[in-house]
């Protein structure tokens, strides 16, 4: 269980002068749902296509199931891919699409039909085998693509933005289904996405990528709550940034000062190697709250409300505070029925010490 199913060492890829991937090291565990998350152009799709064999690294090594993959074409690798546009063969019906990879095995007709049937049932498409490949809805196409890849029993299933073509409702439904399917079949899934909610909701671990490098690899909670850098924090939902000074440090603690929060002491995090001097603190908007007249909080910041945006389940307040160029974003759940706040009014924003994250610059 402990040997990784995929092991990537020092992989780089250059397109002319452009570096798409810069010295990537990554291990993916057997049976894991792993996501590559990042903005477009960060190299996540390039990395996925290299694992699948559609592209060769300029340098470095990719091992799958402890075998080097150098020079092996996609049809020689224990991987299968769900393509972004699903790549359903338009001249074949659903059953022939799903059974496409089985034809090589020269199964007898009954066996072939049984396996296709099983694969169709698994993705909830039983009875649609005779439907033409060109007459399917987006969700159906996605299911056919999944069934077609899973029927090959790959060691690793690669998914290239598989949900981006679907509308929101269907996308959320498919997120759950994909997760359930992955648990049921136990195959390692590697998902490429630019949608942080997709990555957070489905994955066991997420790798966040920027400009051809991996910025952080961690489980969703860690990525969200303890982002390694300002970039990671910013990409995964809203984050307030506060300028601070590290004034003293020892093996366990850091003492900081910030005009907004006053002096604070934070526990030192593993691997945080910054010395004294300027630093950035991050606070998620939902970890801030607007205090009523009689409420108090460990840290309180006074400011002026100047904007609010209503999203249904939450309202986002913008609070201008002295000493910070950016207003603080405060997300308030609309369940408490709190006071109606008018723009221009003075408000007190409260937070706990645990809401503060010290970010690498």
């Amino acid at each position: 269980m402990n040997t990784p199913i995929i092991s990537i060492r020092g992989v780089s890829r250059h397109f002319g002068a452009f570096t798409a991937l810069d010295n990537i090291d990554l291990d993916v565990k057997q049976g894991e749902f792993f996501s590559l998350l990042g903005p477009s152009g960060c190299g996540k799709t390039t990395l996925l296509r290299m694992i699948g064999g559609f592209m060769e690294p300029s340098s470095g090594k990719i091992m799958i199931d402890q075998k080097p993959m150098d020079g092996l074409a996609p049809n020689q690798r224990p991987t299968n891919m769900v393509f972004q546009n699903y790549a359903i063969f338009p001249h074949l019906n659903v059953a022939d699409n799903v059974g496409y990879g089985l034809r090589k095995l020269r199964l007898d007709k009954a066996q072939f039909t049984a396996r296709v049937q099983e694969a169709l049932e698994r993705v909830g498409l039983s009875g649609l085998g005779h439907r033409g490949g060109h007459e399917l809805s987006g969700g159906q196409r996605q299911r056919v693509a999944l069934a077609r890849a899973l029927i090959m029993q790959p060691k690793v299933l690669l998914l290239d933005e598989p949900l981006s073509a679907l509308d929101k409702k269907l996308r959320e439904q498919m997120q759950l289904e994909l997760r359930r399917l992955q648990r049921a079949v136990g195959i390692t899934f590697i998902l490429v996405t630019h949608d942080q909610y997709e990555a957070l909701s489905m994955s066991d671990r997420v790798a966040v990528m920027f400009k051809g490098r991996i910025a952080q690899v961690a489980p969703p909670q860690d990525i969200y709550q303890r982002p390694a850098s300002r970039d990671v924090a910013d990409f995964l939902g809203g984050m307030n940034f506060i300028e601070a000074q590290i004034e003293a440090e020892d093996a366990l603690e850091l003492k900081l000062a910030s005009p907004l929060t006053g002096p604070i002491t934070l526990a030192r995090r593993d691997g945080f190697a910054q010395g004294l001097g300027k630093a950035t603190l991050g606070i998620r908007p939902e970890r801030l709250r607007i205090l009523g007249p009689k409420e108090t909080a460990p840290i309180e910041i006074t400011g002026t409300l100047y904007d609010k945006v209503y999203y249904g389940e939450v309202t986002h307040y913008s609070v201008a505070v002295r000493g910070n160029t950016q207003p603080l974003q405060v997300a308030v759940t609309n369940s408490s029925g709190g006071p109606e706040l008018a723009a221009g009014s003075e408000v007190k924003v409260g937070l706990d010490r645990s809401a503060l994250v010290l970010l690498a610059p």
């Binding site: 049809n75 393509f83 790549a87 090589k104 077609r148 090959m152």
Partner: protein, 303 residues
């Protein structure tokens, strides 16, 4: 359907306000070329069909006499049947050879030529900037007894005496026609290949296909329209070609069009020429239909 709005303004403005239905506007746009086609294509064809049912000589009063005699002659005379069979045979062979040769070229331009794609397309059309007649005549020079091919072979010492069989036979006709129509086969195949979604090819490879299996299972079935289009575009006009057979074909390379030309010309038997034309059209029509049906059947085999 037209609704005229407003009362003021000039008559022209009123005319501009007439709202035609989408279909009516489309028809209005298509009208000039449609009229042109009807006048220059449909009318002559109908005239030829009419002519083919008339007798060569008018009756005593000078009236046209309707008759099936021309068709009886065409379909019973071994000479015409032989020419018809040879023409259709040559056209099918030329179409198949041209398409087989054109496919790799189209494939190369569509997939491998990169940024030079448009240059390649241009280069392929360059020979067609000169007249057809000139190209056929240059083939005559190339294939002749003391032509380019024989000269080179003699010069290199590969042969001691020049080949005589390069010119004036069916083989020469097929060679020249296949070259003449190459571009018409390359273009439709190229278009269908360019339109082919690359991710389908990647998916086929991902699902275990090697290059050959993938070509047979995905590339060929999905470019079938281009291939069938190319077959038609080559086959139909070559069956009626008469320049190449006259210049290159010799005695054994004569085709039906030469006979039609003779009937309208020297023999001065227009009704028979017309019957030959109509018979050729029908035969080629059936051959085309047969190819379509076969292609469709073959397409269903792809899995």
């Amino acid at each position: 359907m037209g609704v005229i709005e407003g009362e003021g303004g000039s008559a022209l403005a009123k005319l501009g306000n007439i709202k035609l239905s989408e279909a009516a506007r489309g028809l209005a746009l298509a009208m000039p070329p449609l009229a042109y086609t009807l006048l220059l294509l449909a009318v002559p064809i109908l005239a030829v069909i009419y002519l083919s049912f008339t007798a060569r000589e008018p009756d005593a009063d000078g009236n046209m006499v309707m008759s099936f005699a021309n068709y009886v002659r065409v379909w019973t005379d071994p000479l015409y049947l032989h020419l018809l069979a040879r023409s259709v045979g040559i056209s099918v062979i030329v179409a198949v050879i041209t398409v087989v040769l054109a496919y790799p070229i189209a494939y190369f331009i569509a997939f491998e030529s990169g940024k030079w794609r448009h240059l390649w397309i241009l280069l392929i059309t360059v020979p067609f900037w000169t007249s057809y007649l000139l190209r056929v005549l240059s083939w005559k020079i190339a294939l002749g007894q003391s032509g380019a091919i024989n000269s080179i072979l003699l010069w290199t010492g590969l042969i001691a005496t020049p080949f005589e069989g390069l010119l004036y036979n069916i083989g020469a006709v097929v060679t020249v026609l296949a070259h003449s129509y190459a571009v018409f086969a390359i273009l439709p195949i190229y278009v269908s290949l360019v339109r082919l979604d690359r991710s389908l090819l990647e998916a086929a490879t991902d699902l275990g296909d090697g290059a050959v299996r993938r070509f047979v299972r995905i590339t060929l079935p999905l470019t079938q329209r281009g291939v069938v289009g190319a077959l038609m575009v080559v086959m139909i006009p070559t069956a009626g070609d008469y320049v190449t057979p006259v210049l290159i074909g010799g005695k054994d390379g004569i085709m039906i069009a030469n006979q039609i030309q003779a009937q309208f010309g020297k023999a001065n038997n227009w009704p028979l020429g017309a019957a030959l034309s109509v018979s050729t059209m029908l035969t080629i029509g059936f051959a085309a239909l047969a190819i379509l049906v076969l292609a469709r059947k073959a397409g269903r085999l792809a899995r």
